[in-house]
């Protein structure tokens, strides 16, 4: 059995991959599809080595950088120098908004790897289905129940030496011809982690529980109704690099979807969804000496509460013919976000204070996207896509309106924003197995509610306080992506590059204000003018023998704020990875080496950061299946106990040191 066809870490570059209809060619450009379900394939280049895997590990596999604030928990995705509102992150197309104004709970923190079937990463501004973005789109597909399957359960457990990470998973699924059900529970927990230098990082543990329940009801041969519900609760999540820790973060996510195949070439789906996120954090576990000496708001506790509620409707449709594929998406969402902070002085003679950081922001957005893919001949295809959004934003908290309005006299706090993005791509088969592609895109994204309305938000790395600006202009980008792939039966090579110019780059505008009493300076969100981003990505996958495959990749991104002449912040340096997989499904070994060069292009003005040294690490894995129902896994991550931190690790929080892990999975 050749491993190559089963390698799930697919770089489907210029794919022209046939789906659905025999003659239909659907074009997926520079898209990475990472299978999240480890049981769908016998080989496991789909999952990271850690036996206690998380969505963060999956995103790294997909080529994303993670802005790390905790111990392998709740990493904020970044790609090609884009982050935050410049990217679109969705879960089955649904938008989940972080409740923490300090970015401690990106939406991906509320799902588990076990909830997912795959992750789609698009980095060329063509994926506008689920939101505007400047060239970064990540969509996680949730596992769905299956019909006509016997009742089965899976129990999976693993533990690691570092931080005593432990993970438990139980999964139950089955279905009749018309009804499928699936339920799963995951628990992950960790104590304080140990870095590569042997030091334990205090307050770096966490505990997390996740329950997913899903149902699928086949209404007819053409219609099906599915429902998904996820409850996720995390508690006592330490953020050693920040000044507070998460006390509790919980999310309730629910969706009902109706899918209908009107004909073999016409498919539609309609999804109604809602989610609610509540995030509480405080510094009660921090030593008083730390509270007394910190730069920001010393000598007081400051518990914070943040909530978001999202309601959405997502309607998708596609029409296919032999040479054409038209897809449309109607995407309507409503967001309600609030965040408050209490300040409780250690000196009890000083009154307790209360501040609102987001005063009931209401954002209602309706968007329509459409794409048309057309095969001109067997070698040449073109694709055109567009999306337009109209968004109404306001603040419903009268007191907060008064406060923020005072900062911007005469400026309306209510706004209706419009964003329009278009892209055109061409895909040409030069010769058998050799494709070239290019995409030109003009993208636009609206400011986030935090960028518009956030009040007194602290950035611990830059050590600044930021205040939003209600009249922020949209960010607009013009981008060019090009790439090529070469594919044979045993080898696949791909290389791609991108150039992107962004106007009205939104950031806390550097200021010369002199802070008072040693407090961090206050900055106001605004445009810092133009910015340029460039990047490349090269990948190779080679099947050396039927029992040995290798993979290598290297990627780099450079970004500059050209108006203020400063490197863009939080951009990972050039890094590469080499991976080898040997053996067969019964006994499999794997080694992966990851390395990054030093990052000396650190931002000094936009969000001050420091340079980062180069680093390299190695991970190994051995997986054994003594029975078809039992898989046992041994692994060692960070084999050489390298002490390092990634450039995108906030306040240089070190990565985990060496960790031995063991786990098993049994099908019952």
């Amino acid at each position: 059995m050749s491993p190559l066809p089963t390698i799930v870490f697919l770089y489907v570059v210029t794919g022209v991959a046939a789906i659905a209809q025999d003659t239909l060619k659907t074009i997926t450009v520079r898209t990475v599809v990472v299978e999240a379900d480890p049981y769908s394939k016998p080989w496991r280049m789909d999952r990271p080595l850690s036996a206690s895997s998380s969505v963060d590990d999956l995103m790294r596999l997909g080529g994303l950088s993670l802005i790390q604030r905790a111990n392998g928990f709740a990493g904020e995705a970044s790609m090609l120098g884009l982050r935050g509102g410049q990217m679109n992150t969705s879960i089955d197309g649904m938008k989940i908004h972080a409740a923490c104004v300090d970015k401690m709970d990106p939406s991906t923190a509320y799902i588990e790897l076990d909830n997912l079937s795959s992750m789609d990463v698009s980095s060329d501004a063509t994926d506008l289905r689920y939101g505007q973005n400047l060239g970064g789109s990540v969509n996680f597909s949730l596992k769905q129940p299956t019909l006509a399957t016997s009742l089965s359960s899976i129990v999976s457990m693993s533990t690691e030496s570092n931080a005593a990470l432990r993970r438990f998973r139980v999964d139950l699924s089955g279905g009749t011809e018309t009804l499928g059900l699936r339920a799963g529970y995951t628990m992950r927990s960790a104590d304080n982690m140990r870095a590569g230098d042997g030091q334990y990082i205090s307050l770096s543990g966490f505990t997390k529980h996740n329950v997913q329940v899903g149902g699928l009801w086949k209404l007819s041969d053409r219609d099906a109704l599915s429902a998904t519900f996820i409850a996720d609760v995390a508690s006592d999540v330490g953020y050693p690099a920040l000044i507070m820790d998460t006390r509790k973060a919980d999310a309730l996510i629910g969706a009902i979807t109706w899918r209908s195949a009107w004909s073999p070439s016409i498919n539609t789906s309609a999804k109604l969804y809602a989610n609610s996120v509540t995030h509480t954090m405080d510094d009660y576990d921090r030593p008083l000496s730390q509270i007394a000496s910190r730069a920001f708001m010393p000598n007081m506790h400051m518990p914070m509460l943040g909530t978001t509620h999202v309601f959405g409707l997502l309607a998708e449709g596609s029409i296919a013919s032999s040479d054409n594929l038209i897809r449309t998406v109607i995407d309507v969402t409503y967001l309600d976000a609030r965040a408050t902070m209490s300040m409780i002085p250690l000196d009890t003679s000083v009154s307790t204070m209360q501040m609102t950081n987001i005063g009931d922001a209401r954002v209602a957005t309706a968007g329509v996207s459409a794409s048309w893919e057309h095969s001109i001949d067997c070698d040449l295809s073109v694709r055109v896509g567009t999306r337009v959004d109209v968004s109404s934003r306001t603040l419903a908290d009268a007191s907060f309106r008064s406060v923020l309005g005072g900062y911007y006299p005469g400026m309306s706090l209510d706004r209706t924003a419009v964003a329009l993005s278009v892209n055109v791509g061409a895909f040409y088969t030069v010769a058998e197995g050799v494709q070239l592609w290019t995409v030109v895109a003009r993208s636009e994204r609206m400011p986030t509610h935090l960028e518009m309305y956030g009040f007194w938000l602290y950035d611990p790395q830059a050590n600044i306080v930021t205040i939003g600006r209600p009249d922020l202009a949209n960010e607009k980008a013009l981008s060019l992506d090009i790439g090529s792939t070469f594919r044979t039966d045993d080898m696949k090579l791909s290389v791609s590059g991108s150039m992107r110019h962004i106007d009205n780059y939104i950031a806390p505008v550097p200021s010369t204000d002199v802070p008072t009493q040693g407090q961090p300076p206050t900055r106001y969100m605004g445009s810092i003018g133009g910015a340029d981003l460039m990047g490349f990505n090269a990948n190779a996958t080679v099947s050396i023998t039927p029992w040995c495959s290798m993979q290598a990749s290297v990627l780099g991104t450079w970004g500059t704020g050209i108006t203020i002449n400063d490197p863009l912040p939080l951009i990972a340096p050039m890094q590469g990875m080499v991976r080898a997989v040997v053996g067969d499904p019964m006994l499999q070994g794997e080694i992966i080496v990851t390395a990054a060069v030093a990052q000396s292009r650190a931002s000094r003005l936009i969000l001050p950061e420091d340079n980062t040294a180069s680093w390299a690490r190695a991970d190994v894995l051995l997986a054994w299946m003594p029975l078809s129902q039992l898989r046992i896994q041994f692994a060692c991550t960070n084999l050489f106990d390298t002490f390092y931190h990634e450039h995108t690790s906030i306040n240089n929080m070190p990565s985990r040191g060496r960790s031995l892990n063991v786990g098993f999975r049994a099908v019952l």
Binding site: T356, F400, G405, G406, Y408
Partner: protein, 268 residues
Amino acid sequence: MITTTLFMNTLKLSALAVLAVLVLSCTTTTEPVKPITIDKTLVSTVTASNYAVELYADGAITVGYTPLYVRIRHNGLTLTDVHVLITPNMDMGSIHHTCPVEQDEEVAPDKDGLYHSAAIFTMASDVGWKVGITIHDHDIDTTFTVHIPIAVGNSGNTVTLKDASSTKYILTLKNAAWTVGMNDIMFNLYRTADGFDYTPVDDAEVSFAPTMPSMGHGSKGNVTPVATVGGWYVGRVNYTMTGDWQIALAVKTLDGQILTNNYQVVVR
């Protein structure tokens, strides 16, 4: 037979009872008079010449701008056609002085019969202050004065400062129920040379800056006060959070004198 008699007696008694209720109902057709309730704090009542003089305030009287209310009752009736003049007086033993007062002798009372005025008490004292209230009853053309002792508590809302020429300035921050967000903020400036005649100063330049000493920050969006009338300056202050705030007031008089004071306020 016995049963029939009992039934008839019961019927008669019931009829009498109904009749009694009807009669009594007819005699109470007038609604009881609801006593006037005044949503103020009664400071004191003094009786003189069959007149009851009632002094009210919004709450405990403290240093600073203090609205005062006077009601005059005569023979059980509330008078609404009198002139009321208040004169606070501070007896410090060897020294007497008064304080700035806002009042209009011609003003009519409100629906509760209260005559409105205000005093800016300049110092705290449990026993030293008396409010002299002079009343002229137009109906019988009589004038009399009563003196009501009051206790004035501490607050930092008013401060007395001397300039280089020993002229005293009374700087007052009008207290308010401060809330998060933009609030109207009012300062008052009086000048006196002898402690008895107080002149409102309407031609000064007034500025202020709110800060939170415990936090080390201020706020933006504050509106510089402008003069209105009677020594009042009205601006806007932006309190960004609850807690203890400090208002740093700076006054530049027409002759270039700079007067400053810090007021402590609590935002809830």
